[in-house]
């Protein structure tokens, strides 16, 4: 059955069509049931495929299924082909698995919403598009999924259609993503122009033959990878296109979980890893990716320190963690990036769903400073979120410790790495522990700052069960990638066939020689995380006056952090403002009014001026007409007479 792996796309699409077409007239239970069943069926099917896949020898773990020829034009051919290799396998399991839990959670979270059919239809379409993205066997089909998740994020962020802010956020996400998409498309054009194919298998094979060695400088590969990376910065919210993600919090909370954990933002990381054969041969672009990743991680972590909105903290945390992933990719540790993507999917989904549970309890109060004291009424949420927080902060032995530690170690150890990346990564680790513990202390401890009383409880099994499962996964997911001093890195071995055409920079080699150094680095990261957590405990657990005094003393710094270094303002002033000036002065006044309107109005006035002459011929006098006819006939006669001779 493994050759039918692409059928995993069918249930989400069927669920989308079902809910989209007839869901409006059906009761809520059937709508949500169908939505969950679609994703669940896809997940179970993929588990069965996985059971078979894992038994294949490594060199056969590369299954291509060609469904039909999609486009044929001259020398250009685009197949509708699907690829199942370890990378897409692991992505598919995360997408459908975490996606399924989010679907189940949504049945409780979205209870009583009027547009439920719309919600579940979009959710299923999202899962379908993301699965298509990671299953695609060539860049063009990948682009379909790429655009599809962009569309779905637009639809879901703007789900609350009656709120203007939701519509604005949706448009912002879409437009910012379009900038990246345009670059991605240019990159794809350049790939076809250079190598003549878009199929992953033949393309990477060609590249490994024609470019055996990495070349620095501005080569064609550098241009291609740079364009693709710009596309990735859009989807994965990296500098300079990270501005849409915090605003995307306007959507329902489970959607945030879906966007941040299973779908959408992981697309950029996936794209770079999928194109590892290209990236590993463009060392300068890799360096750029690492720098962008580090900067994004630092900037977002700093911004998360002072946010008052619980979902914004988590959103900046996602940007920061994605920065980590790109840092790993930038130092050539592609499988490490996927490892962090894998563990991050669990704990970030968990944290968002936990935040959703808090919001349910507090009737959608988002301000952390108006929460507090929830640990008694939301026991399950509190404990599972602690697991997620500890995993995100990188506390041993939870999953985040292993993946984050591996990134930091690679940043130091890899031939493409640099101690500066490592130090910056350590700082981010400390900041992460600090802001996550701050969130937990503010939400669950201290005195209630809200008017919703001590009574009240969890929302039910549909909420708590996904939290518990995700907490379990977040705790133990690290075992697939144990560091060398503890055991076997199974994920590395599993993903190895994906990188068969990549240039080997020796990133994972030689880590047998320095166990003690790796252990020391891990210890340092853990110590810094604990330091951050301790500081958060001191500042926010009981007495919260120090942060307030600090904010009052440095209002400029506080404001800068709160508004994400005013990047949004800079964009609206220079980019949006510049576009507005260009539109008004040049495109509207000059091109539209001058050229387009001028051509239309000019034609009209030309006819108005000259039609007076023609009108005079239409006198209404029959005898004049007859005279005209005679004149005409005489002229024709004269002409014929002259021709015949």
């Amino acid at each position: 059955m493994i050759e039918y792996f692409w059928l995993a796309l069918v249930p989400p699409l069927a669920g989308f069509l079902f809910n989209g077409l007839v869901g409006k007239r059906l009761p809520a239970r059937i709508v949500s049931g169908a939505g969950c069943a679609a994703t669940g069926a896809s997940f179970l099917f993929l588990l069965a495929v996985f059971a078979e896949f894992i038994r294949l020898p490594a060199e056969e773990q590369q299954i291509v299924h060609r469904l039909f020829t999609w486009i044929q034009a001259g020398t250009f051919t685009a197949e509708c082909s699907f690829l199942l290799d370890p990378l897409s396998m692991i992505m598919l399991l995360v997408i459908t698995g975490v996606g399924f839990l989010i679907h189940v959670y949504s049945t409780a979270y979205m209870e009583g919403e009027t547009g439920l059919y719309r919600y579940f239809a979009y959710l299923n379409l999202f899962v379908f598009m993301m699965s298509l993205l990671v299953m695609a066997g060539n860049y063009l089909l990948l682009f379909v999924g790429w655009e599809g998740v962009g569309l779905c994020s637009y639809l879901l962020i703007g789900y609350y259609i009656e709120r203007k802010s939701a519509g604005d956020a949706a448009k912002k996400a879409f437009v910012v993503n379009r900038v990246g998409d345009a670059c991605f498309l240019l990159g794809v054009f350049l790939i076809f122009k250079t190598f003549g194919t878009l199929e992953f298998g033949s393309l990477f094979e060609t590249v490994s033959r024609t470019h055996p060695q990495p070349e620095s400088g501005f080569t064609v590969l550098a241009a291609i990878t740079l364009l693709l990376f710009l596309g990735a910065t859009g989807k994965s919210a990296q500098i300079p296109l990270q501005v849409w993600l915090p605003d995307a919090m306007e959507g329902p909370t489970p959607v945030s979980a879906l966007i941040h954990a299973a779908t959408m933002v992981t697309a950029g990381v996936y794209l770079v890893v999928r194109s590892a054969a290209l990236y590993s041969r463009a060392p300068d672009v890799l360096l750029l990716i690492a720098v962008v990743g580090v900067l994004t991680a630092l900037l977002a972590a700093l911004t998360a320190l002072v946010q008052r909105d619980i979902k914004k903290v988590l959103a900046y945390s996602t940007i920061s963690q994605l920065g980590y992933m790109f840092m790993a990719l930038g130092v050539g540790a592609f499988s490490t990036g996927i490892f962090h993507l894998f563990t991050h999917a669990f704990f970030k989904a968990l944290l968002f769903l936990g935040a959703g549970s808090v919001l349910l309890r507090l009737h959608h109060e988002l301000d952390l400073f108006r929460m507090g004291g929830l640990r008694n009424s939301l026991k399950v949420t509190c404990w599972t979120m602690w697991v997620g927080t500890a995993a995100l902060a990188g506390i041993f032995p939870l999953s985040g410790f292993f993946s984050k530690d591996e990134i930091l170690w690679r940043a130091l150890d890899s031939p493409l790495g640099h101690p500066v990346f490592w130090v910056a990564g350590l700082v981010v680790a400390g900041l992460t522990a600090f802001y996550m513990c701050r969130l937990m202390f503010l939400a669950f401890y201290g005195s209630p700052g809200h008017g919703h009383g001590e009574s009240g409880s969890e929302a039910g099994t549909a909420v708590t069960a996904p939290l518990a499962i995700l907490a379990g996964a977040a705790a133990v997911a690290g075992v697939v990638g144990l560091p060398a001093y503890l055991g076997d890195h199974r994920l590395d071995h599993f993903l190895a066939p994906v990188f068969r055409y990549s240039y080997d920079h020796g990133v994972s080699a030689g880590h047998g020689a320095s166990h003690s150094l790796e252990l020391l680095a891990g210890g340092a990261a853990l110590a810094i995380s604990l330091l951050g957590a301790g500081l958060a405990y001191r500042l926010y657990a009981r007495d919260r006056s120090i942060p307030r005094r600090l904010a009052n003393r440095y209002p400029g710094l506080h404001g800068t952090l709160l508004q994400q270094f005013r990047i949004d303002q800079a964009y609206s002033r220079f980019v949006v403002g510049g576009l507005k000036v260009l539109s008004r002065r040049v495109l509207w006044r000059a091109v539209d009014v001058g050229v387009v309107d001028g051509a239309v109005n000019g034609t009209a006035s030309l006819f108005r001026r000259w039609s007076g002459v023609a009108t005079r011929m239409q006198s209404g006098n029959t005898r004049t007409y007859a005279a005209w006819i005679v004149t005409g006939a005489a002229l024709v006669f004269l002409y014929l007479y002259s021709v015949i001779d």
Binding site: A614, T615, R616, M617, Q618, S619, G620, N621, T622, R623, A626, A627, V630
Partner: protein, 102 residues
């Protein structure tokens, strides 16, 4: 006595046609203009027949029958129109009927 040459018939046809055209343009009475049209039609018929006899072909005879049929139909419709015009505006002067203009 020899046959009348074809050129005579053709010349007569041309003269009749030009008289018809001139009459149509110069006269203002609708009925007179109508008669001028009939004159032009018959001038054409005469021309047809002159050629038919010159080349001993029957095609032109058939054309003449067509023209006569059309002329009959035209007479019926045209006279009805003239009657309508008279009832509508109590005049047969074509120059007063010029409301259809640009």
């Amino acid at each position: 006595m020899g046959m009348v040459p074809a050129t005579h018939y053709l010349a007569l046809g041309a003269v009749l046609f030009v008289i018809g055209v001139a009459g149509f343009i110069v006269r203002r009475n609708v009925i007179t203009m109508f008669m001028s049209v009939e004159l032009m039609l018959n001038a054409v018929n005469l021309t047809f027949l002159a050629y038919a006899r010159t080349w001993n072909q029957v095609d032109a005879h058939i054309f003449v029958f067509f023209v006569m049929t059309v002329a009959a139909a035209e007479a019926a419709v045209g006279l009805a129109l003239i009657l309508g015009l008279d009832r509508h505006s109590q005049t047969l002067d074509i120059d007063t009927v010029n409301r259809l203009q640009g």
